[in-house]
Each structure stands twice: as structure tokens, then as C-alpha cells.
Amino acid sequence: MTQPILELRNLTRHFDVGTGGMFSARRGLVRAVEDVSLTLEHGQTLALVGESGCGKTTLARMLLRLLPPTSGQVLVDGQDVATLLGSTLRAFRTKVQAVFQDPWASLSPRMKVFDIVAETLVVNERLTKGELTRRVDEALTSVGLRPEQARLYPHEFSGGQRQRIAIASAIIARPKLMILDEPVSALDVSIRSQIMNLFKDIQTEYGCSYVIVAHDLGTTRYMADRIAVMYLGRLVEVAPTDEIFDLPRHPYTEALLSAALPLRPRKDRAEAIQLSGEVPSPMNPPSGCAFHPRCHRVIDGRCSSDIPVSQSIGPAHRVACHLYSG
């Protein structure tokens, strides 16, 4: 059995927040990510889905070592990310790369495309000028841009092209794992599929693994091998993509799927599950299962008192819900 590219062990992140200004004694604790365990195999794509504020982005930032976990571990190729130093950290920085949501915010307006794309190599590897140019040209070509566009500034490009620049800068060091934080949601609908296809081509060519953070189910269905559904910082269901769409087990997953617009409205429209209320504050999550106040299949007594444990209900299918325990 080979080592997974990425493994999360009981990953937890809390944020301390003052609630009433500098002199207030009242402090709050936001449980952004709570006890998340996951694995991702080489060459596979995992999607993290959930509503805004469910902890997807916090999780992604921990994977990128932008944010230290409160407890738990992120293992990349079996190595705890938190312990990296010096040359192993440099190796990590070329191994794991990211593409962010907004290509207007993720490229420095004062840097030329060449410098943006070359950055990872410049910082981590000693290359000659000629070698660097060759690698930049290669990266730009493989995302569908022309090498001579390296002389331009980001504002001279359209949104889709800018995202291609961001992708070029992520793949230049030939990463094994890429974290894609809503990589197409800031783009026009008409160019989303181009960019998604580009990601798929890159995966075929380089054999890298993806973690996609998304709230758009269409994107995830097209891209992902497996889907992890998050609610209020916890994983509620993890399963292969087809299983999630065909046979969702967790009530929250059901609700999430039924909120998506059907392909053939007249035929496919099942009765939509309407969730009542808002997502509760992660500072003060409900007792027991965090989803129980909004759940349409709530079991009285049990759901409001016990936190459900994640359990296997099929090959590679895990769910954290009392409906499937005992």
C-alpha cells in the first residue's frame, strides 16, 4: 500500500476572538475546523464542499501551511507539515501549490507575468537565467498562453487569462499537490469549462493531485473523484463523487443536492428539501450534531445530545449521522 499524498489527522483550528473590543473580558472561540480526518491518494481529486463559513477555506489555508492548526496534523507524503524547516520546507513549497479564487487579487499588479510565474523557482531553486526563461515559457505554453506575454503586466489580461497565469505560476515547479480554492467561481461562466479542462489536462500530464474547495456542485461533479461535505467545521460525509450524487446519505448532503438546479427541470425536479433558518454561528454551535436544528430527519433526543461519529457505510463512504449508527 502506497503512502497517500495527503493525510489529515484530527485537524482542528479554533480562532480566539474578542467580542466587545479591546477592554472587554468577553472572549469567544470560533471553531472553524473541528476534528477533520481525510486522505487523498496520488493523482486523485478531492472536493471540499459546504456553505460559506463552514471552514473550507480555513482548512485549505492549513493545508498550505499558511495557518497553523490548533491541534491535529497535516501530512504530505507522510511528513508532518508543521515540523518542516530549511530544505524540507523548500521541498514542500515546490511540492504543494495553490490557485486562488480571484485572479484579480492573486496576482500582484506591480509584477510582470514573468516574475509572477517564475517566483517559486526563483525562491527555491538556483537556476540560470536561460533555464528560468525556458521553464517560464514552458509553463505559459502549457496553460495556453504565449511565451512573449511574459513581458506584460497582469492588468493587460482578461479574467480567464489571469487565472491561466496563476495556474502557470502554480505548475512551474511541477507540484504533486495543488490546492484550488474556488478556482473558477470568479470567472465568467463561458470560460469556466475551459479552465476546468485545463486543470484536467494538467493532471493527466503531471499526475498531480487536487484538493478543490468549492460551493458549486457542477464544478465538483466534473472534477472530483471524491467529495467531502463540511458543515460548521466538521466533515459530515465523504464518498466517491457518483455515490454522493446518486445516493447521498447525510441529510445535509441531501439538502445541498436538492438545492442545485436540475438538468431537466420538468422531469428531474424532485421535491426540494428546504432548510429552515440560518447556519448557526460557529462560535456557539448547537449541541450534539451541529446540523440537528435544521435537519429534516432529526431523531428526537439523540441528535441534540450526542455528537455523531464518522463511520464507514460502504467502501470509501463515510458519514457522521445518527441515522446510520447502531
Binding site: L66, L89, R93, T94, A98, L107, S108, P109, V123
Partner: protein, 281 residues
Amino acid sequence: MFNRIPFLRRFPVIPVAILLVVLIIPAFFATWIAPHDPYTSNLRARLVPPVGFGGSWDYPLGTDRLGRCMLSRILHGAKYALGISMIGIVLGAVVGTVLGLISGYLRGWVDVFIMRLVDITFALPSILLALALAAISGPSFSLVVIVVVFVIWGFFARQVRAETLSMRERDFVAKARVAGASDTRIVLKYILPNIANTIIVLATLQIGVVIILEASLSFLGIGIPRPAPAWGLLVADGRQLIVSNWWISLFPGLAILLTVLSVNLLGDRLRDWLDPKLRQV
């Protein structure tokens, strides 16, 4: 023709022309364009009024009590105004920018410490500080520069800190960190270039403040030492004679007024060009 080019259509012709005539050209070329030596007195031509008020073209703006040519003195005075404001602002901007970057990037207690330092410098009256320093070391050029730096670095530190705080949360900084860039590299290659406009605009807007400050210090006798013809000193020279010989104070005062006014107009325009978001500092 100018209207075709957007940059030139709104070019502030008048402020720039005034600045050239009153400040910049005199500061560099006073030696050649001034009609007389600014230090030589002509005791037979004391208190000559300007042209049109009973004077002659020998002394277009009249002479002072010692018979020195006012025009020449004002022209030579420009280099003090320009020199002090350039040196003071560059030093103040460097100090303020470095501390502002550190403050905004590191945050925590360093940030608190530097910002309280800014509060303290803003709370101390600059004139009083200058008086104290002058009492210790006597008035000098470097003393004026020190006071100027002391007064303005806080504006830079605050503004740069605020911009840094917003820049460090941008995605391109996160991306640089993912690429493995060090903190120094992030600050110098990602944050500083993106706030350079702000610094330039702020520096321009400070020129007026500095020229006034220098003039006030010189007026009080704790700025540029005599007999240098700094504008503030010239105004002070004419103070006692202002009723009978008004031109001694008026023309240097006018030079200060025109310079500061033009510089501020220019700064405003520059701010609109470079940063439409930043309408007030």
C-alpha cells in the same frame, strides 16, 4: 493639442509654472539670475521701495534696512526652502515607511510600540522641541532637518502601516508565501511596490507643511541661522518695519504663500491621478 492626451488635459499648468518660477529655478540658478549679491549691503540704498512705489529697476523688490536687494535674497532663499523640504521629506518618508512596514507586517507588540511612538510625536509641540534643541546646540541646518523628520515621519508610518495591513491579507501575498517567499521578500517585492503611490502622494502633500514649518522656525530664529536669507528670516527681518516698509516682509511672505499653495494643488492633483480611492489622508 494638450487635450488629446488624457494626462496633459488635466495637467496643473499654473501650479507647476509658479513652482518653477518661485522655487525650483531660483533654488538652482539664483547665483546667475539674481541681480545682486544677497549678502552685500549698499548703505546708500537702504529701504528703497519696490518698482512702482518710488523705487527703480536697480532693486525691483526694494531693499532692506542694510540696503540688500530683496529680490536677490528671496531668490537665494528658495534653496533653503527646497533643500530642507527635500532632505527632510526623504528622510522622514524613509523612517516612516520602514517603521510603518514593520508595524503593519509584524503586528503584535511591535505594532503597538511603534504606533504609540507616533502618538507621542504627534502630541509633542514641534516648535517647543525645536526651541529646546536650539537651546542645546544652537540653530543649524541639521537641527531643522531633525525637527522636520520628527514632525512628519508619523504621517508616513501611519499611512504605510494601514496600507500594509490591507496588503498583507491579499491573495497575492498568500500566493507568495505558498511559493516560499521569505518575509523580507514579501515586504520588499510584494507590499512596498503596491504602496509606493501612496508614499509619493503623501510626500508631495507634506512639502507645504515642511516649508511652513521651516519658515516658522526661521522666523523664530531657531531655524536656518543668519545671515542666510531663508524666507522665514526675511519675514522676521521686516516685522518691526511692517508699517512703514511693508515690502521687506510682504515679498518673502508671498513667496511662501505661492509655493505652499502650488505644492498643495499639485499634491491634490497627483493624488487623484495615482490613487482615486484615497481622497483624504
